[in-house]
């Protein structure tokens, strides 16, 4: 029984049966080839996104299966990019899954010679403390020539061109609230 099944699937016989004597086409098609399905058709869900590199603003479709990105390609619906992507945008999946990607907080103590582990919560708390202290130590109400200042010149924040508008909004809002004026980003550069 099983043997006859095996025989049936033997391409040599299929060559004769399926009108492919040379065995160049259908007769030699493998099980995998017969049942092949593109993985984007098997994705659990597709997410509309925007390329993170330059400012052309190409549309991206992100395909996800069990919590992992399985593929990223262009979004044809975008009137700007029409589904096309450059090598960088096309490599977005490899970027977010880069072998060099960091997943853990790293801490370097003063004069330290290597990175140390640190929990995210501790890091957040320590950073908050540093800001509060530095700010208290260096606060200026007035400039030398007696003009209003209401600020600290000892803290700066750099970055934003690669961030979301919402993120930039919170950064500027928080820093302004803290009296930190040295807020800058790549737009300057």
């Amino acid at each position: 029984m099983a043997l006859s099944k095996l025989l049936d699937s033997w391409p040599v016989l299929r060559q004769l049966r399926e009108g492919d004597p040379l065995g160049l086409g259908k007769a030699v098609q493998s099980p995998r080839s017969q049942t092949l399905v593109p993985r984007i058709d098997e994705a659990e869900h597709v997410v509309h996104s925007i390329c993170p590199y330059c400012a052309v603003g190409c549309g991206q479709l992100i395909y996800v299966s069990d919590g992992e990105i399985t593929h990223i390609e262009g979004d044809p619906a975008s009137p700007i990019s029409r589904g096309r992507l450059c090598p960088k945008g096309q490599a977005s999946k490899s970027f977010v899954q880069s072998p060099l990607r960091e997943y853990k907080v790293k801490y370097r103590r003063p004069y330290g010679t290597q990175w140390e582990e640190l929990s995210l919560d501790d890091a957040m708390d320590m950073i908050a403390e540093r800001i509060i202290k530095t700010r208290a130590d260096t606060w200026e109400w007035k400039t030398e020539d007696g003009n209003p200042a209401n600020r600290t010149m000892a803290i700066g924040n750099l970055g934003g061109a690669t961030l979301d508008n919402e993120e930039n909004y919170l950064i500027k809002k928080l820093m302004t609230g803290l009296g930190i004026v040295q807020v800058e980003n790549q737009a300057r550069i």
Binding site: R84, L85, R101, R108, M124, M153, A161, D164, Y169, A187
Partner: protein, 898 residues
């Protein structure tokens, strides 16, 4: 971009990329569009296939040049000479679009009689103050336009002088109902802008261009002709530029020069026309609209400065323009304060204005670095930027970081700015030793765009929402999460504080709903605050026209107001372009302002409101309906008829006439001549780069007198220039750039295997003649050096970087350097930016990495301690010779003489 801001009213690209397909001629200059915006470039190719001329003017023959119908090679940094030549060609031959120029630009306006041009003052405009090294702009004004504000020019026109985007054309305070006091419609008056322009550029002849830029007269004329023939009623030309213009000590004026050309040819506000600023980062436009910049608040509202405004009213008055849309400054500002501080901001406490932090003239990134080096900066947070590689003079930045008490670096990979303390050229050379660096460093892994919701604002002012696809792993978090919870923690810790200092932070509205296990803040709730609502009713605002100055509306960024109208996230609209009626596709995402895709589109119709031609119809006046209509949201009061004349007492937008399309400008016109808003002159003038092998062929004033220099900063020495003794140590022009395969400082590409293999090593591009001259071999190694540092690179000997024959018969060689490499990543290499200096453009404080000088020799660079020695020896050699016979820059001479 104060250049576009002062000229047209808004600091953003005036057109959208898809519209380039309608251009009859596209000039790409200061940009390598095919390589750095490949997908946007498809629209240029569409135009080329439709028969448009595509012209690339660039020092190098790039992948863009390869696609262009015409490439003209010019000397890096000579762009204003070239564009000035085009302006002169148009004016001398009377080829301007007369009707457009008369009605839509300030060509007829008569300028103060005190004004003196560079042609009269040997390279300086009137009002130069040698002591301050600044201009007093009073003499640049329109005739009869009073200038107020004790602090002078700074208070005019939206703090034009303080940062890239703040230079909105709100200037012109005191214009009488939007009309300049004196003008001459015939354009004949000797002091009218048109005639001043003519005189200013009269020496920019084709021969001058050829001699200064190193191109041929024929090539120049061909370009000028192409522009002229493809402009007018029936045809339009567009300019595309990028940081190839911005990154100069005259960067803003380069863009201004293009703005003048486009005004004279009548290409603004019309389909297939305009000036397309090509931005290099996903949300670099957004990060200036909603700024992470020191000098402005969201929507280009200037940060208050360190002087006494005499209260809120003073500040409002100083920044309000009686006419044009800047007439509602108070509404924009008060709504922002309500968004920031909620009920804590009230009319009685001046909306907390007096508590706001104040800025100095320059608190920009490069200023901060100098403060670091002097030990004045204790803490620094870096989020998604890599100064150790991406900023000019990387060494200065790395040494600065080593002087901090604490540093937070947020990125997806461990970038050079996080690793400088154990892995950097300085550690290699022994200038930095880990055990001697006191800096406490927190590296915080960031979430990628796939792991968070949010909106990017692309190069055409389009806000596009991206949805989260997967959860960030382990400690990875979004910036939204980091700053929200940081703020929450700080507010928590200061809850009890009675200190006056903490009043503002305690007053900060900081409630945002969070979701998921990690308590990620809801990005849409932030966007809602940005878009704004009516306090009390909570009704979402439909646009900035609804903003009130009485505190009844809250809005985080007035120009973004309406991006959440009707409670719908307009930026998340993804209606496919094939389901939309026009190529404008207005239902894809949302553009500021008010979802207008082509700015100033009122100008696509003639003064009477009819399309200039059938071929170029876009927005026009529908007499039956009594409203403006067309393919796009009209960038004009929809019901204001073309023949509208403002009444005597008209204010704000009502003071703009029906035939004046530039509604952000106080006079409703585009500015050929910028009376206020720019630091270094009302008109672009050719100056040599800060470091250049040449003198200025026009004036004894060699470089931009107003450029920012750090003369006393040991970490930022300059090469001897022009014919100075010692300049022969650094005889070549170097220009830096990007490659398609990589992104800026490389953190997002050198970490990606598929990209690393495509451009795996740092290299320099040199011409065979230069290779022969200094003995470089293709495929071998070269060492490139400046006063700052020396780097090594593989040698690519190619004809694509051509030597240019200059006026004095000298041949100038140019060295091309991509700047993507650093010490981290799958592929590593030396950083080109280590060679660059920190002399800046005065308007926007941007470094000049597109043109400076260097030396080059075969072989690899010295290792370890030998490297700084090598650099120092050459520097001494050059500088000692200069000291024997010091050259004094003209602006210095003037100082001593006065």
């Amino acid at each position: 971009m104060p250049s576009l801001g002062t000229s047209f009213g808004r600091g953003g690209a005036t057109d959208f990329q898809q519209d380039l397909q309608n251009s009859d001629c596209i000039v790409i200059m200061g940009s390598n569009m095919a390589e750095n915006h490949p997908v946007g470039f498809q629209w240029v190719m569409e135009a080329r296939e439709r028969g448009a001329k595509v012209i690339h003017v660039d020092p190098r023959f790039t992948r863009t040049s390869a696609m262009a119908t015409k490439h003209v090679g010019i000397r890096a940094g000579s762009d204003i000479a070239f564009l000035g030549g085009v302006i002169n060609y148009i004016l001398q031959n009377n080829l301007h679009f007369a009707e457009y120029v008369e009605h839509y630009t300030n060509a007829p306006v008569i300028i103060d009689e005190e004004f003196a041009d560079t042609e009269e003052l040997d390279g300086l405009f009137s009002g130069w103050d040698p002591e301050q090294g600044e201009y007093d702009v009073q003499t640049w004004m329109y005739e009869g336009m009073e200038v107020h504000g004790a602090a002078g020019q700074r208070e005019e026109g939206f703090d034009p002088t303080k940062g890239e985007q703040s230079g909105h054309g709100g200037g012109g305070s005191g214009l009488h109902h939007g009309e300049p006091p004196a003008e001459d419609p015939t354009l004949q008056h000797p002091r009218c802008v048109f005639q001043i322009l003519k005189r200013h550029y009269q020496r920019y002849t084709p021969d001058f261009v050829a001699e200064t830029c190193g191109c041929s007269v024929d090539d120049f004329v061909e370009v000028a002709e192409a522009l002229v023939q493809n402009s007018g009623r029936d045809r339009t030309s567009a300019f595309c530029y990028a940081v190839g213009w911005t990154q100069h000590t005259v960067g803003v004026q380069m863009i201004r020069a293009a703005a003048i050309v486009q005004q004279l040819l009548g290409n603004m506000g019309r389909p297939g026309g305009g000036i397309v600023a090509l931005r290099g980062h996903a949300s670099i436009q957004g990060s200036t609209d909603i700024p992470t910049l020191y000098n402005i608040l969201p929507g280009y509202l200037p940060m208050p400065h360190t002087e006494d405004y005499g209260g809120l009213d003073g500040y409002i008055a100083a920044n309000t323009s009686p006419t044009g849309w800047w007439g509602h400054f108070d509404a924009y500002f008060v709504s922002l304060m309500k968004a920031y501080f909620g009920e804590h901001a009230s009319a009685d406490n001046d909306w907390l204005f007096e508590s706001l932090p104040r800025i100095d003239d320059d608190n920009s990134a490069y200023f901060t670095v100098q403060q670091m080096l002097e030990g004045n900066v204790k803490g620094y947070i870096i989020a998604g930027e890599n100064p150790a590689v991406g900023h000019a003079n990387g060494k200065a930045h790395r040494l600065g970081l080593a002087k901090l008490d604490w540093l937070v670096v947020r990125d997806v990979v461990e970038i050079e700015s996080a690793a400088f303390w154990y892995d950097s050229p300085e550690v290699e050379s022994g200038e930095l030793k880990p055990e001697e660096i006191a800096t406490e460093i927190f590296f915080m892994p960031a979430a990628a765009h796939t792991e968070k919701d949010g909106s990017f604002t692309n190069t055409q002012r389009l806000l596009q929402w991206h949805w989260q696809a997967v959860d960030p792993k382990e400690d990875c978090r979004s910036e939204l999460w980091f700053y929200f919870h940081l703020g929450r923690l700080i507010k928590q810790k200061l809850e009890e504080s009675e200190d006056e200092r903490d009043k503002l932070i305690k007053a900060l509205r900081w409630e945002y709903p969070t979701h998921s296990a990690i308590r990620e803040p809801d990005a849409e709730s932030v966007l809602q605050e940005v878009s704004g609502w009516e306090i009390g009713s909570g009704k979402f605002l439909s646009g900035y026209k609804e903003l009130k100055a009485d505190g009844s509306t809250a809005c985080g960024c007035w120009i973004y107001s309406g991006c959440f109208k009707e409670g719908i996230n307009q930026t998340a609209r993804k209606k496919p372009h094939w389901e939309q009626d026009t190529y404008v596709a207005p239902e894809w995402a949302w553009a500021w302002p008010d979802n207008r895709r082509l700015l100033y589109n009122r100008a696509s119709a003639d003064p009477d409101g009819n399309p200039w031609s059938e071929r170029k119809r876009f927005v026009w006046w529908d007499a039956e309906q009594g409203e403006w209509t067309g393919l796009d949201q009209p960038d004009f009061d929809q019901q204001k008829p073309p023949d509208y004349v403002p009444p005597e007492d008209a204010e704000a937008e009502d003071a703009i006439a029906g035939d004046h399309p530039f509604i952000m400008q106080a006079d409703g016109r585009s500015w050929l001549y910028v009376p206020q808003g720019l630091e270094d002159g009302p008109l672009p003038t050719h100056y040599e780069p800060h470091e250049s092998p040449f003198d200025n062929p026009l004036y004894s004033q060699r470089a931009n007198p107003r450029r920012q220099q750090n003369k006393d900063l040991a970490e930022d020495p300059y090469n001897p220039v022009a014919n100075e003794p010692g300049s022969d140590v650094y005889p070549y022009v170097v220009t830096t750039y990007r490659l398609t395969e990589h992104h800026t400082a490389g953190g997002m590409t050198r970490s990606v295997p598929y990209l690393a293999e495509l451009q795996p090593a740092m290299f320099c591009e040199v011409h065979p003649d230069l290779a022969r001259e200094v003995g470089l071999e293709h495929g071998g190694w070269a060492t490139i050096y400046t006063s700052r540092s020396a780097i090594e690179a593989r040698v690519m000997v190619t004809d694509r970087v051509r030597p240019l024959r200059m006026k004095d018969g000298r041949t100038v060689h140019q060295v091309g350097l991509p700047y993507h490499w650093g010490k981290r990543g799958l592929i590593t290499g030396d950083s080109a930016n280590d060679l660059a200096h920190m002399a800046l453009d005065p308007n926007v404080h941007i470094q000049e990495v597109k043109a400076f000088t260097c030396g080059i020799r075969p072989g690899r660079r010295p290792r370890g301690p030998e490297l700084p020695k090598f650099v120092a020896e050459l520097r001494e050699q050059a500088h000692s010779r200069r000291e024997q016979d010091p050259r004094v820059e003209p602006e210095e001479l003037r100082k001593t003489s006065s």
